[in-house]
Amino acid sequence: MTSATLLRRITDYAARADPYPLYAELRRTPVARQEDGVYAVSTYWEIAGLLHDPRLSSDPRNRVPTAGEEDILEEEQGLPPSFLRLDPPEHDRLRRLATRPFGPPDSPRRVSDMRGDLARMVSGLIDGLRDRERADIVEDFAYPFPVMVICKLLGVPHEDEERFHVWAEAIVAGLDPGEEGEGPAERRRAAQRARMELGRYLAGLIEDHRRAPGGDMLSALAAGHGDRERMSPLELVVTAVLLLIAGHETTVNLITNGMLTLLRHPDALRRLREEPGLAVPLVEELLRYEPPVQLLPQRTALADIDVGGVTIPRGAPVWLVLASGNRDPRRFPDPDRFDPGRTGNEHLGFGGGIHYCFGAPLARLEAQVALTELARRLVEPRLVTDPPPYRRNPVLRGPRHLPVAFDGCVP
């Protein structure tokens, strides 16, 4: 099998439960041109270098469209791109403004102050499993928990979940570059429509928060910070869409992948139960070993870039396969081993460089609290099926369901 078809095999649903042998094959050619013109980068140092390279753009408008991608520019006519898909200086300005009510330097305690709320939410969800012997970790826990968290953080009414869930699913499906189902072009169009709908919903909500502000992030963003620069109303809506989607469609996979990995490694599960502090390095190892964002398929070369003995030509699409770099034996000793105490864990699970995951501190805290409590409270948890059924998406990868049997819950 040549490397030309490897990426197609990776995005194929058949590879979803275990793409790692294919990544190992991909790493034999660190920078591999695929037959459709995509350059797949799969080794640690090459990915890390490109994450810091200003010649690699996140803005799809820099792309020379390949066959079937002619609608990419049309897509951008819906809502303008969020900072996730912008380059400096616009990226920097919008991310800085979004950070003001979220983290340092202006709001260093926003996330750590949520710890108590998070613990209460987790307790409540596990209490709901008390009289049961089976649960779907996704539906009963890993999906509802991050939704509660992001709603609380942003100030989105939790009872609207049914409405925005449908839009969120369509937007996330639009990130799927695979050929399955109705095809990538149709998925992108559906995602564009959903993004508009969600934007309209959030615009109304932002207006409500402007009139009657609360302690949440949307209120703070809508109010701005005095006379300093602020987001335009449209930028605010686009940022709110990004935060709502990113805040719940990735953490669900981090928690589910975490529980699956713990159930496959009973020693780690036992250690976590006895030693809750282990959750901190364990979650980092999880981000290396089973990252919820497997690859970044939306970068474009702004110039000819020499990397890994290959010249990526200007305008070419570049995929950074983070999950493969995380298993690179030239960077991580024994990379296919899940080692919850691993030190020096400079994983690529949250990306790197200027687009390093905005919500990383919150995702870490959610996963630490969730996995510690699941490990502590579920009695003799075990997998019902292994591997579990996966979602279709190869980018935001995780189980669709995670059926688990157990012998009750301790308080």
Partner: protein, 74 residues
């Protein structure tokens, strides 16, 4: 703190706000000898640093070279 490694991701300032603080977007200020009550915060900060720039050592305990980047190239 290995400030040659630090890239101002600010993860430490989220995890241990009593020990690490961002001054503006790029300058990091930190308490070099935080008390034992800050230990958990510091361990969280060290583990979450994307470039493993935080070296943790507690008096009386073994050095915990969180930043000893195995396999880092020179």
């Amino acid at each position: 703190m290995d400030l040659n490694r630090c890239e101002a991701y600010a993860q430490c300032a989220f995890q241990a706000p009593d020990v690490f603080a961002m001054h503006g977007e790029e300058a990091l200020m930190y308490e070099p000898c935080p008390g034992d009550e800050r230990r958990e915060q510091v361990m969280r900060a060290a583990a979450s640093c994307p470039v493993q720039a935080i070296l943790v050592e507690w008096p009386g305990g073994p050095a915990v070279p969180e930043g000893a980047a195995t396999g880092a190239r020179g």
